[in-house]
């Protein structure tokens, strides 16, 4: 059948196949790299096996409501990072970004301690894809705490 096609049509079919193959390859690479390309560990990811304490890793999730406790030295704090399935206690010393809030997203850079807690030396605030004026956010407050 192909032999009866005009060269122009052959090239069209070929080009479309090439395009779909390329887009598909991108999608495949995306799913194949799922673990390697993850920016951070979620608490549930490390529930079974902790990354070794001498590895610099990131831990991401929501800051559990009511878990932030500032320590007496003025620069340290404890809080709990959760993803709804598991949670990890974190100790951080330093200046937190403005958007670091309870019930909001956070990515902590640091390392795990053998006891399963996390020692953070830097915090990044992670916000979600919802944007709204303050009045509206007040109205939907319960929904705002939905873990990602």
């Amino acid at each position: 059948m192909t032999s009866r096609m005009k060269p122009k049509h052959q090239r069209l079919v070929l080009a479309c196949l090439a395009l779909f193959a390329t887009l598909g390859a991108g999608g495949l690479a995306l799913s194949a790299l799922k673990d390697e390309a993850a920016f951070f560990y979620a608490p549930a990811d490390v529930a079974g096996d902790l990354p070794s304490p001498d590895r610099a890793v990131r831990l991401g999730g929501m800051v559990e409501k009511g878990s932030v406790h500032r320590l007496g030295d003025g620069v340290s704090m404890n809080f709990v990072v959760t993803d709804g399935k598991a949670s990890v206690p974190v100790r951080f010393t330093g200046v937190a970004p403005d958007l670091f809030r309870e019930g909001s997203g956070v990515v902590a850079e640091g390392h795990f301690r053998p006891d399963g807690s996390f020692a953070a030396d830097n915090l990044l605030a992670k916000h979600d894809e919802r944007y709204m004026p303050p009045q509206m956010a007040g109205k939907m407050a319960p929904e705002m705490t939905r873990p990602q």
Binding site: K8, R11, L12, A15, C16, A18, L19, T22, L23, A25, G26, G27, A29, L30, S31, L33, K34, A37, A38, F39, F40, A42, G60, A96, P97, D98, L99, F100, R101, S104, V107, L123, L124, A125, K126, H127, D128, E129, R130, Y131, M132, P133, P134, Q135, M136, A137, G138
Partner: protein
């Protein structure tokens, strides 16, 4: 298809491009300026990010043009590979520089946005890294197509590169869904948006404005390339006589 064939005629293209260039350009500038003004002064601040959220109105159009630009470049490349019409190759080459600029502006405005919100200028997360790769792919395409034109190539190699580069588009699009990233998820999808309507509307003005402005730039660059080709062809003919 008849539309393509009509457009593929260079004389007819010139006739169409001449009035269309200033129209696209100035309509785009007007819409974009209005959208920026509205986004800076006529919308509420975000409940979490405050005024910083206003960077959205330029960051999103830049990202859209960076990715949309490559889609258009790839489609023009395919049209060239299939129909072998030189105008398609000209279009692909004309898209490259503005596309690279907006991909770069997307990275720059994103970085400026990241500092006050995330607390960092740059992180190697999936979305940021794949967008940076797209920027490099644009640069590589520009270098490749320039080298190809200088060596008198027929533009088939840059066109193949244009098709191959589309591999990045699904990676960028789905990086925030399939990988966990610092970058937040998609706000605007086919089914709706997670941006409050009172904050969303100027984005439509900047998106359409930037797109028209981009079209105006591409038309200008196509006309420049076609005129240069005409001069070169005439010089060669005169030298041959």
């Amino acid at each position: 298809m008849p539309i393509f064939h009509a457009l593929a005629n260079p004389a007819r293209f010139q006739k169409l491009a001449r009035p269309l260039t200033p129209l696209c350009f100035w309509a785009g500038v007007a819409l974009a300026l209005f959208g920026c003004w509205a986004g800076l002064t006529r919308t509420p601040a975000d409940y979490l990010q405050g005024e910083t959220v206003r960077i959205l109105y330029i960051h999103v159009p830049c990202a859209w043009l960076g990715m949309g630009g490559w889609s258009a470049l790839a489609l023009a490349s395919i049209a060239y590979l299939v129909w072998r019409h030189p105008l398609a190759a000209v279009a692909a080459r004309a898209i490259a520089a503005p596309g690279a600029l907006f991909a770069g502006l997307c990275l720059v405005t994103g970085s400026i946005w990241g500092r006050p919100t995330w607390g960092t200028w740059w992180q190697w997360d999936g979305r940021l890294t794949s967008m940076l790769l797209l920027f490099f792919v644009y640069i590589a395409y520009i270098a490749l197509s320039r080298a190809d034109a200088e060596r008198g190539g027929d533009g088939r190699i840059p066109a193949l590169f244009g098709v191959a580069g589309t591999i990045l588009l699904p990676v960028i699009r789905y990086s925030v869904i399939w990988w966990n990233t610092l970058h937040q998820g998609q706000s605007i999808g086919l089914t709706g948006s997670t941006i409050a309507p009172s904050m969303l509307w100027p984005l439509w003005f900047t998106l359409s404005g930037f797109s028209l402005f981009f079209a105006g730039l591409v038309l200008m660059r196509m006309r420049a390339m076609l005129a240069r080709q005409k001069v070169e062809a005439r010089m060669r003919r005169m030298a041959a006589v």
